[in-house]
Symmetry: C2
Subunit: 315 residues, 2 copies
């Protein structure tokens, strides 16, 4: 068996809806995933930072992924997060995703210990790849030092790429540092290593530098406009389109991101339960929520068709 | 049912031995736990930072804990780590530990997201306590900001202690900052909140300030000498005994701690496989190991009876 076609474009790290008892809400989840794919996302990076994935158990993630597949979300659009602190958890989730046929996996380094060596991180990723032992595996490294506090260095990428060509497929760079993304592009883009910006703020620069798209929090609410930049990045109005999505992102970044994303979805879906988060995250205050919605409305922001989508009933 | 008697004294965050295939080695684990209890430890804080607990799956931790109980390690000596990033994992591990009869649990805050609010952390601990819903639960908070990057503030302790008196039993302070430990003692020791220093370096100060002992990495190799300070902290030679264990600690702190602990056990048990760690941690280089053993031997360091203990056969 060979590796699936690689995803390019705009991926959303899909926010995970919870019921009032804090259990994952499968019906709202499927509905949101389908809305995203119908409205500009070319892929779904489920179980990312914005998905509260590390607030879920391994079993909860597996059930959610299986639910998506059962409910007809195309597996070739899925790039689940599978990197855990525990090697055995990372292997289990990665093997599960590959067995289901997911296009790739987005893998955090083990993030409990800080100041670990590249040698230790290399061994972690190498163990996962070897234990999964499946030629279909496409592994994207997840560099997000502001949260994980454990960076993926250029030297580590180089070593992994040399040892596991084809399998080590790319990176999501959520450093927030364009010079780092550029260094990754310059060093590896020509070796078939797909660089995704971790925010749409860098989407146009990333495309011009040889990147493949972005995996971005606000892909959850603004996928259409972000996809427009991806579709038209060679066009004459690319800079104007980029300016527009950067401005929208800047509004969101004034608020705690995950709470803000869920508040926006709750508002535009007319579905207040969407605002629920698992501890340790907390929802926006009502003052924050009001001010955010006012700012978005002033920009003419909308999530077309979201309120009308209706819940998917799941047995 | 009422809460078990609380542990005081020297607790070891027991290092977890791995076989060459990186699976947990139950026989070596039981043997080490029994050696610790016979050589100065009054309790075992299994599944701590030094145990590579976050490098284990939830199931692996549960099997190891059940193994200890089956092999006759007294449950009233056990204080397993049960705090995970995922609320559902923390609940599962905590309920399991309480059901087995463990004296307490040592709980990390969810540590993936950084900069989270006290409100979010309060909700996390409150949810765990309420979902476990067992009067036998004694919860010790685990403050280790250098690793978790998520601190447990005095305000959070105060709120939890007020809401869950009796259940919120104490703290392990691994901040490395004596002024923080002192502030915890001054604020809460008189309310029946048991403060454990996170290093034996602060053991005597902690006892003099109203604390209950220490939970310390080097309890894995030097429990007898550390226990002597605990047993004699009111005695005339307490400062001299403290000086001795601080000096031994200072030797260990020159090396990566978890690798160093395992190297020392491997050396004194004459059992090289003990040196194995799971990624992302790596073993000492042979030069580091040689230099560490030379320093310890120069101090007359020993782990009496360790080599003779022999492996426990486990079905």
């Amino acid at each position: 068996m060979t590796a699936p076609k690689r995803i390019t474009g705009v991926l959303s790290p899909v926010v995970t809806p919870f019921k009032s008892d804090l259990s994952p809400d499968r019906a709202r989840y499927v509905r949101h995933c389908k809305w995203l794919l119908a409205n500009g996302c070319s892929g779904l990076a489920v179980f990312g930072t914005n998905s509260e994935a590390n607030s879920l158990s391994v079993e909860e993630r597996m059930v959610l992924l299986e639910t998506l597949v059962q409910e007809g979300v195309p597996v070739e659009k899925l790039m689940p997060g599978t990197g855990c602190c525990s090697l055995t958890d990372s292997v289990r989730l990665t093997a599960h995703a590959v067995a289901l046929g997911c296009s790739g996996v987005l893998m955090l380094p083990p993030f409990y210990y800080k100041g670990v060596s590249d040698e230790g991180l290399y061994r972690n990723f190498a163990e996962v790849i070897e234990r999964v032992g499946d030629a279909r595996l496409q592994l994207y490294l997840y560099h997000i030092p502001p949260v994980s506090q454990v960076p993926i260095t250029l030297a580590l990428i180089e070593r992994l790429l040399k040892q596991f060509p084809g399998t080590v497929a790319g990176v999501k760079d959520s450093s927030g540092d364009w010079s780092n993304t550029k260094a990754m592009l310059d060093a590896f883009a020509k070796s078939g290593f797909d660089v995704f910006a971790g925010s749409e703020v860098f989407l146009l620069d990333n495309m011009r530098g040889g990147g493949k798209g972005c995996i971005t929090a606000t892909g959850n609410i603004n996928p259409g406009a972000i996809d427009k930049v991806f579709q038209n990045w060679r066009g004459p109005n690319a800079d104007a389109l980029q300016k527009d999505i950067t401005a929208a992102r800047n509004v969101m970044q004034k608020y705690p991101m995950m709470a803000a994303l869920k508040a926006v979805i709750a508002h535009y879906a007319r579905d207040p339960e969407w605002a629920t988060l698992r501890p340790p995250l907390v929802e926006l205050t009502s003052a924050q929520s009001k001010s955010l919605m006012a700012e978005l409305e002033a920009r003419g922001f909308d999530m077309p068709g979201l309120a009308a989508a209706g819940a998917t009933a799941i047995a």
